[in-house]
């Protein structure tokens, strides 16, 4: 008898909690990449949006690959990621409404100061990777299908380096996020490709530094996409669209531009492009 009472009490609790989760005040779930969250950008600009709209943006920061996967399953309302081909496929497959470019920054090749592969100052990222491969210097790769990882693979292809069994001695597939991979690179004296935002705000640099930058191939575009309410009817489309509109507005763009770490801007607004 007492058991039955306790069990019903628990069921009621669970139901109430579920109800609360659904009835909570206005919020959207933003699936984004670790770079935007870990650098502090979202922490800086989201309160501005909330103050204006009353909508709380809950950020699930994962790699671009996982973010797209979450959005496909309908587990996010808005996507903020950085791998154009995947994004276009996402929209083409009917999971996203429209792709809007929001901002950009760039990838940088990072390595130890003593630079065993002698790539410092090269303006050709693929050429630098080719030298790393030639020298057999340790390189840590995220290997997690993130935007950064996909960009890195494209650079290896451009460098004509085949990553196979023979490269295992120096090419380390971390299978981790940007931060964990940077920690590993620092610990292993390895080279690594990172987005500039994460690197600048990364606090465990020790004696690693940016060695190659400025190659157009290192350009890193971020785009925002509303998950299709046609595909997933529960998507909070109105608030999601309001967030996207705000990001693309002068106000949102100015907020992105105003975000600095150590006086450095990390993201450069360039709304206007879309596909």
């Amino acid at each position: 008898m007492r058991w039955r009472v306790a069990i019903s009490a628990m069921l009621v609790t669970v139901t109430v909690m579920a109800g609360q989760a659904m009835a909570e005040d206005r919020h959207i779930v933003l699936a984004s990449t670790t770079s935007t969250e870990n650098s502090g950008l979202l922490g800086a600009i989201l309160p501005l949006f909330r103050a204006e709209s009353g909508v709380e943006v809950r950020v699930v920061a994962v790699g671009t690959g996982q973010a797209l996967r979450l959005a496909r399953n309908g587990d996010a309302d808005v996507l903020l990621v950085h791998h154009r081909p995947s994004e276009e496929a996402f929209v083409a497959d009917g999971f996203g409404v429209e792709r809007h470019e929001v901002m950009y920054n760039d990838f940088v090749l990072i390595g130890p100061r003593d630079d065993p592969a002698e790539i410092a100052g090269l303006d050709d990222a693929s050429g630098a990777l080719a030298r790393i491969a030639e020298a057999g210097a340790v390189f840590t790769s995220r290997s997690d299908n993130s935007g950064t990882h996909l960009a890195e693979r494209a650079l290896w292809d451009a460098a004509g380096v085949v990553l196979d069994g023979a490269s295992r001695d120096w090419y380390r597939e971390m299978g981790s996020g940007m931060g964990a991979t940077l920690n590993a690179a620092v610990a292993m004296d390895a080279y690594v490709l990172a987005d500039r935002a994460t690197w600048v705000s990364f606090a465990n640099k020790r004696d690693h530094t940016v060695l190659v930058e400025g190659d157009p191939a290192l350009f890193n575009q971020y785009a925002v996409i509303l998950v299709s309410p046609d595909r997933h009817p529960h998507v909070r489309a109105e608030d999601g669209q309001a967030f996207i509109d705000w990001l693309l507005s002068n106000e949102g763009q100015a907020a992105i531009a105003a975000f600095r770490v150590d006086g450095q801007p990390l993201f450069f607004p360039n709304a206007g492009g879309q596909s």
Partner: protein, 281 residues
């Protein structure tokens, strides 16, 4: 922590600060001069300094009642204690029933429980994610990325632990009690209740083991909770996040606080257990 004050590679031309760069494909004009080897002397910070810093940070965070820390600690306790309550509610009777009742397949259940003790949290997280995802069978409940989802994942993770340990503990007492309870004419259901009550001191250890696993667990809550600030961030996911940001000292400080909290909860449980032992045992 130690980002160098001057880093020529990051110098920016004023042009890049403009709110809008009209040409979307423009690449930031980088400082043109070839990469210079930074002149500043390379002082490799000793890793030990992170530990020292961590203690200081931990004390500071606790002393200042850092609101974000309070939020995270509160949620950690809420999630893990709820999960332990649910897991105990299921696991303790389950363990006792398996210890006392004879039924076909009992050995298989025991083996299964023992095996499930080693469930990888990430696996549990993934299963719960697939269940709670909008595309999953329980999607309409809208529980993904909520503390409730984290409670469910942790409860699944620790129920087998509590059940298996409870079975072991109850079994030991049952071997001692069996003849006396039979002599009193106790039926199996009464035996289960008696054993659960009389083994409460040992069972509190099982519950604490479950609580420890829940508090320390990161893989499952990261997947089903999403580590959303002020919504689903708990101690362990915050530690993972700070580590990935390279804030090793802050991560360590949070870890120290986690250890202290775990100690505190165990101490409270031991005190309560001691009191109940004195009163009833």
């Amino acid at each position: 922590m130690q980002s160098p004050p001057v880093n020529p590679t990051l110098s920016v031309s004023p042009k890049r600060v403009e709110p809008r760069c009209v040409e979307p494909k423009c690449v930031e004009p980088k400082c043109v001069e070839p990469k210079c080897v930074e002149p500043k002397c390379v002082e490799t910070e000793s890793l030990m300094s992170d530990f020292v810093q961590a203690f200081g940070l931990a004390l500071h965070l606790v002393a200042s009642f850092d609101p974000e820390l309070v939020d995270i600690v509160g949620r950690s306790l809420y999630v893990s204690l709820s999960a332990v309550a649910i897991a105990s509610f299921i696991g303790l009777p389950l363990g006792a029933v398996v210890a006392v009742y004879r039924f076909p397949g009992r050995r298989a259940v025991v083996v299964l429980l023992n095996a499930l003790m080693g469930l990888p949290p990430v696996f549990v997280g993934l299963m719960v994610y697939l269940m709670l995802s909008r595309s999953g069978p329980l999607g309409p409940l809208g529980l993904l990325f909520t503390p409730t989802a984290m409670i469910i994942a942790q409860a699944i993770l620790i129920t087998p632990i509590i059940a298996a340990l409870a079975r072991e503990i109850v079994r030991g007492l049952y071997d001692e009690y069996r003849e006396q309870l039979c002599s009193f004419g106790a039926r199996p259901r009464q035996m289960v209740l008696t054993l659960l009550w009389d083994a409460r001191v040992g069972l509190s250890t099982a519950v604490m083991a479950g609580f420890g696993r829940a508090m320390a667990e990161v893989g499952a809550v990261l997947i089903v909770g999403g580590n959303i600030a002020y919504a689903t961030r708990v101690m362990t996911t915050a530690i993972a996040l700070e580590t990935s940001k390279g804030n090793l000292a802050l991560a360590l400080a949070l870890g120290l606080i986690l250890v202290v909290i775990a100690l505190g909860v165990n101490a409270v449980a031991a005190m309560l257990g001691g009191a109940s032992t004195r009163r009833y045992a």
